[in-house]
């Protein structure tokens, strides 16, 4: 049997090395080390990817992990004094705190579980971006924005998550389940950080906290009894990590302050927070703002102004880190988009988030704005009203609509303030809560601006993906509130009621999960048949690749081939799915960006449905090409093969004459044809592929 997960084992060993070094040599709490290590890995690989040295950098990180970890362990175990057993115990006690053990236990358990179940990608945006980007990174060893893919547009979404996926499967074959393991590892690192500062004797607090964290993504994303598989720990979407890492950055800071450790370790976490999705820039600024306020307002030293300059400096660095990440990524993708447009692809189409923010604030203040914004003033007002209405009435989490969630989270923060032992701690907790609320208002304002000025009118009117954007923030807020609570309880005079409250919350999570998440839709209960369509795709693609591999007239290596896709009736999903499955073979966008022969149909590309203009049947992705145009489109694409995944009567009537078998084989199933100047030649016999 193939040892399919050895790459994960090596990656985890390297990760352990990095965390051991951070804990033993940098004096960072063991519960925080995994988050710092993962964030650093992601950011180093992002920078290396942009510089074009992704694989060497990844190898260097592995060497660093083994080297630094080995050195840290060796030197700590060979310090003079004490017996070897005592030194082992001392090192183990530092490395295996409740937070660190929670992290490793969850990480290893899920790695084993996913290695057995091997879930696959299954959702639209996983094929159209998240999963495909991860696969490009792994199969081509480049940052996905520069990978070879059939998209005519330039990918601009941040790549922090894809880099983690890359790191975890550097030495093995790409698999979606390994990507899930990587992403869950990041979530678990944030959960572990929540437990920072707790000792083993606090297990009555630590265990329920860990359980609450595990349930948190369900708590804030499920809003009704689930009927279909609910993708929480089996998704490559960035929304849940965005929220958890936003919370994780604040939690990391609170832990750093409580347990000590170098300030620089916070910076990769803040940077990663800004490098998950484009909208997480706002979340990372909120996290940096909370850190800065906590640093400046609540000094450990007395008097308050002692060391103020240093604290202000650190606060500035905390702000600059996500800002720099955002700006550098923005510049990088803008340059790529311009180059892409020059090469005949699409350029950038939406307004920059900073321009939108500036003009939005101007509108609020009644100042004049540019024509683009003036034209959309009505949409801005409407979006604000819709968002308010949604906040009050649309059920977004298990416990209710946004207003209920905010009251609940406020309750947790107030409880943390009540449990705090000193007046200063009470004030600190309440100030942090107030800042989270202010940032929440600002985040909502940014969403209003996005719906009004960045999204299409239809998306704005429907508040498309409202849940996804909001639960990111709630998740971060929840983790922060939990941490505020957890760090007060062990020292509190009301320690027992505090622990009982956390335990009650954990039990409530278990109850709500049981009530809302049907067993067969959960991460443990889903059936493999969930992936039937994806398995069919895999089989189809494997058969097609086999045919191409055996083609004696093939030019170049199999993985260098380009395929033109025909899938009659496709709504875009098939193109994305098959593009993903065929990688590293590239599926061409399959059609001109704009139809030369216009029949009033604007969609001219993206694989799908082709036919003669006179046979146009109203299909939204219909490519109305004459026979000559279709042949020319295929030739100009540079594809060596034409893959007819689904044929139909219109396609046969339109182009049968171009095919050596007049599409007889394609009538029976997916078929591969070799492209030539004369037409398309059947290879591999009838029913090939």
């Amino acid at each position: 049997m193939e040892f399919i997960w050895f790459d994960l084992v090596i990656a985890m060993a390297a990760l352990f090395g990095l965390t051991a070094w951070l804990t033993l040599k940098q004096k960072l709490a063991a519960a925080l080390s995994p988050l710092c290590a993962l964030a650093a890995v992601s950011m180093v690989l992002t920078a290396a990817g942009m510089a074009g040295v992704l694989r060497p950098a990844a190898l260097a990180l592995y060497l660093l992990g083994f080297g630094l970890g080995g050195w840290a362990l060796y030197s700590e175990l060979h310090t003079p004094g004490g017996t070897p057993a005592a030194r082992w115990c001392a090192v183990s006690a530092r490395l295996f705190t409740p937070g660190a053990v929670a992290f490793w236990l969850l990480t290893v358990s899920f790695a084993v579980y996913f290695a057995v179940r091997q879930p696959l990608l299954n959702n639209f945006d996983e094929f159209s971006l998240w999963g495909t980007a991860a696969k490009i990174t792994s199969t081509q060893n480049v940052i996905y924005t520069e990978g070879e893919i059939g998209w005519p547009w330039q990918g601009t979404q941040n790549c922090g998550m894809m880099m983690l996926s890359y790191f975890f499967q550097l030495f093995g074959q790409f698999a979606a389940w390994k990507t899930y393991v990587a992403y869950n590892t990041l979530l678990f690192a944030c959960f572990g950080a929540v437990l920072c500062g707790l000792k083993w004797k606090d297990y009555a607090l630590a265990f329920p906290l860990a359980a609450i964290c595990w349930y948190a993504p369900y708590l804030f994303t499920v809003y009704g009894r689930t009927q279909y598989v609910w993708y929480v720990y089996t998704t490559s979407y960035g929304d849940i990590p965005a929220g958890i890492v936003f919370g994780g950055a604040v939690v990391f800071w609170l832990g750093l302050r409580q347990c000590g450790g170098p300030f620089w370790t916070l910076l990769p976490v803040l940077a990663l927070c800004a490098n998950i999705k484009s909208n997480t820039f706002v979340l990372s600024l909120a996290a940096a703002g909370l850190v800065a306020a906590d640093l400046i307002l609540f000094a450990d030293a007395k008097p308050w102004h002692k060391g103020l300059a240093g604290r202000v400096g650190k606060a500035l660095v905390a702000f600059v880190t996500p800002l720099a990440t955002y700006l550098i990524w923005g510049r990088y993708t803008a340059a790529l988009a311009a180059a892409n447009a020059e090469a005949g692809g699409m350029g950038t189409t939406s307004e920059s988030i900073i321009s939108v923010a500036v003009n939005g604030v101007k509108m609020l203040l009644g100042l004049p704005v540019g024509e683009y914004y003036e034209l959309r003033r009505g949409r801005f007002v409407q979006a604000a009203a819709d968002m308010l209405n949604a906040f009050l009435s649309i059920r977004i989490a298990m416990i209710g609509p946004g207003v209920v969630v905010v009251v609940f989270l406020t309750g947790l923060c107030v409880l943390a303030a009540l449990l705090a032992r000193t007046g200063k701690e009470k004030l600190r907790t309440l100030v942090l809560w107030a800042l989270i609320v202010i940032c929440f208002a600002a985040y909502n304002f940014m969403l209003v601006l996005s719906y009004a000025f960045i999204f299409t009118e239809a998306q704005g009117t429907a508040l498309i993906d409202y849940n996804r954007y909001l639960y990111s923030y709630y998740l971060g807020w929840f983790l922060t509130a939990l941490t505020l609570l957890a760090r007060q309880i062990p020292q509190s005079r009301l320690r027992l009621p505090g622990k009982a409250a956390v335990l009650a919350l954990a039990c409530a999570c278990v109850f709500l999960y049981g009530r809302y998440v049907s067993w067969d839709t959960s991460v443990f209960g889903y059936d493999d048949s969930e992936f039937t369509q994806v398995q069919v795709n895999q089989q189809t693609v494997a058969d097609a690749v086999e045919v191409i591999t055996q083609d004696e007239l093939r030019q170049g290596a199999v993985e260098q081939q380009r395929i033109f896709l025909v899938s009659q009736g496709d709504n875009g999903l098939r193109w994305f799915q098959l593009s993903y499955e065929f990688l590293p073979i590239v599926v061409d966008y399959s059609g001109w960006l704009r139809p030369e022969n216009s029949t009033g149909v604007e969609y001219g590309a993206g694989g799908g449905t082709f036919g003669l203009p006179e046979l146009y049947d109203g299909d939204v992705y219909y490519h109305a090409y004459t026979q000559d145009e279709f042949h020319r489109a295929v030739l100009e694409s540079g594809a060596g093969y034409l893959f007819v995944e689904t044929s139909n009567r219109i396609f046969e009537q339109s182009y049968a004459a171009l095919f050596s078998d007049e599409l007889a084989a394609a009538a029976h199933g997916p078929t591969v044809y070799r492209v030539s100047g004369e037409g398309f030649e059947l290879i591999g016999g009838e029913g090939a592929a």
Partner: protein, 207 residues
């Protein structure tokens, strides 16, 4: 060991997890023993069930052991004729392509509707058969959904109470494994809080 003498509350999690393991072992052994008795008494026969014993819905028999589904929701119904124990159903079918979802539903009483609360997914075996393991319940009727496609099914073989070995009684499912990790931990936390509360109360009384 010193830690337990110094801090007896450190023992609580060990006791809780130990107790959970013992309870799990006893429950599984009990079920194994009951099934053993039922087997000895002939109430749990390992039998091949011919297709003639099943009511077909959205399925057409094309031979003695061949079926074809007429909709994407084909179903086979079976009513327990003699109150026999059904612990597992092993399904062997040759499909021409990926068959989609296979599932089994069961009811425990007459008049009960089939629903997702009494639904079982199969585990594909090394010999390519599908094994449905039913929880400890008195089965009144079964509904087997052999596919979620319009598809032909050849060499259909259905067997009751085969393919499930004694040691498999002790293997928890994934959710059960998670529960075995979660609930003893929560119980230990609750007991710890209770113990601390009692200690505080004692201290207050003394004080």
């Amino acid at each position: 060991m010193k830690i337990f003498a110094k801090r007896p509350r450190a023992l609580i999690p060990l006791v809780c997890y130990g107790l959970a393991a013992v309870v799990w072992f006893l429950l599984c052994t009990g079920q194994l023993a009951l099934d053993g008795v039922a087997r000895l008494q002939g109430r749990m026969p390992q039998v091949h069930a011919p297709l003639a014993e099943f009511e077909l819905y959205a399925l057409e028999a094309t031979g003695e052991d061949s079926l074809v589904s007429t909709t994407p929701d084909p179903q086979l119904y079976w009513y327990n004729p003699d109150g026999r124990v059904v612990r597992s159903v092993q399904l062997q079918i040759t499909f021409p392509r990926i068959p989609g979802e296979l599932a089994l539903y069961y009811t425990e009483q007459p008049g009960e509707a089939f629903g997702r609360d009494r639904k079982v997914y199969p585990i594909q075996q090394a010999d390519d058969s599908w094994l449905f393991v039913l929880p400890r319940a008195q089965v009144y009727s079964l509904r087997i959904d052999p596919s979620s496609e319009i598809i032909t099914m050849n060499d259909v073989q259905i067997q009751f109470n085969t393919g499930y070995r004694w040691w498999q009684y002790y293997l928890p499912g994934w959710q059960q494994a998670f529960d075995l990790l979660l609930f003893p931990g929560l119980a230990a936390s609750a007991l710890n809080i209770l113990a601390e509360a009692l200690r505080c109360r004692k201290a207050q009384k003394k004080g």
